[in-house]
């Protein structure tokens, strides 16, 4: 076995990943906060108002990164589900299921902020264009995966079934987008463009990119947190989990000590 596969093998073992995730998680959250604050400062204070949309466009600094994360989260989940189903890797099962709630949150934010942006801009909370419709379908797909995962008793079986559904859904998103596009050409009219013909200026671009980085980091932070819990659940009978549980047992009163002992 060469160094790389050995390294992957080691990283893929639940206790190792649990430890690494525990170390990585605060960094993800911390850096997300730093870049997020910088991005918001740039977006809310520094960037000028748009000549067409006024200040309402400032919603895109959270809307667009959330939309990216909604899609990214789904593909991250589906990729992990694929690995989990083909190679039966426990860590991938847990990772896939950990990314579903985070992705669903971002998709939900996208829908709500998009609606809040659409009301002053288009004069309507909702329109059935391809982007909005596929985003809605994406949210339903997420909810289906989460619902299926929680409806099955055995954690590993639940992760496999829900992962399978995620894989079935992954072909659906582009098809929905395409079909709604076709449908709108049939009906004419309500197609709306998110961005006007004007290209985005740098003072708007860098806050957007910073926010994209921040949301990625936050996504991985929550995914790591959920993965840690998921690994404890899936490996419930193993010795390394027993040690963590017993260490935690010793001190809900002294959380710092227990944290140190298993991180």
């Amino acid at each position: 076995m060469n160094i790389l596969t050995l390294w992957f093998h080691k990283l893929g073992s639940p206790p190792t990943f649990y430890r690494i995730a525990g170390w990585l998680m605060p960094w993800c959250y911390g850096l997300a906060l730093v870049t997020g604050v910088a991005g918001l400062y740039g977006g809310l204070v520094q960037a000028p108002a748009d000549y067409q949309q006024g200040d309402a466009y400032r919603i895109i600094f959270i809307h667009v990164p959330s939309a990216w994360m909604g899609l990214f989260g789904y593909f991250f989940m589906a990729a992990n589900a694929f690995v989990a189903l083909v190679w039966r890797i426990k860590l991938s099962e847990v990772l896939a299921m950990a990314s579903a709630p985070a992705g669903a949150s971002f998709t939900f934010i996208t829908l709500v902020t998009g609606s809040l942006w659409g009301k002053p801009m288009w004069g309507t909370w909702w329109t059935w264009d391809a982007r909005l419709t596929s985003e809605l379908v994406l949210l339903f797909l997420y909810l289906g995966v989460i619902g299926l995962y929680h409806a099955i008793e055995d954690r590993r079986q639940a992760a496999r079934a829900a992962g399978f559904l995620a894989l079935v859904g992954v072909v659906n998103v582009p098809i929905v987008h395409f079909s709604v596009n076709w449908w709108n050409t049939l009906h004419q009219g309500s197609t709306v463009r998110l961005f006007g013909p004007s290209s985005i200026v740098p003072s708007m671009l860098w806050p957007l990119l910073l926010m994209a980085i921040a949301t990625h980091l936050w996504f991985f932070g929550t995914v790591l947190a959920r993965t840690r819990t998921g690994l404890l659940e899936v490996d419930g009978g193993k010795d390394w989990v027993r040690r963590i549980v017993l260490a935690d047992d010793a001190g809900p009163s002294a959380p710092a000590a227990s944290e140190r002992s298993h991180v």
Binding site: L44, D55, A56, S105, L116, A225
Partner: protein, 58 residues
């Protein structure tokens, strides 16, 4: 400052969006902690259930 809060008349929409963003993400980050606590207590119960057996059964 009030100009900043007013957002050129779109304050409700802009700040509403940001409120949703922060609330949802805060819930998303806090939920795993609650879940972790639940899983740990469940596992602890399982350990306690299992531990007495070797001592009590001869």
């Amino acid at each position: 400052m009030s100009d900043f809060l007013a957002m050129g008349g779109y304050g409700g929409y802009v700040w509403g969006s940001y409120a949703v963003f922060f609330i949802v993400l805060a819930i998303d980050a806090l939920a795993p902690r609650a879940q972790r606590r639940r899983v740990l207590s469940e596992l602890r119960g399982r350990l306690l259930r299992r531990r007495p057996r070797p001592t009590q059964v001869p």
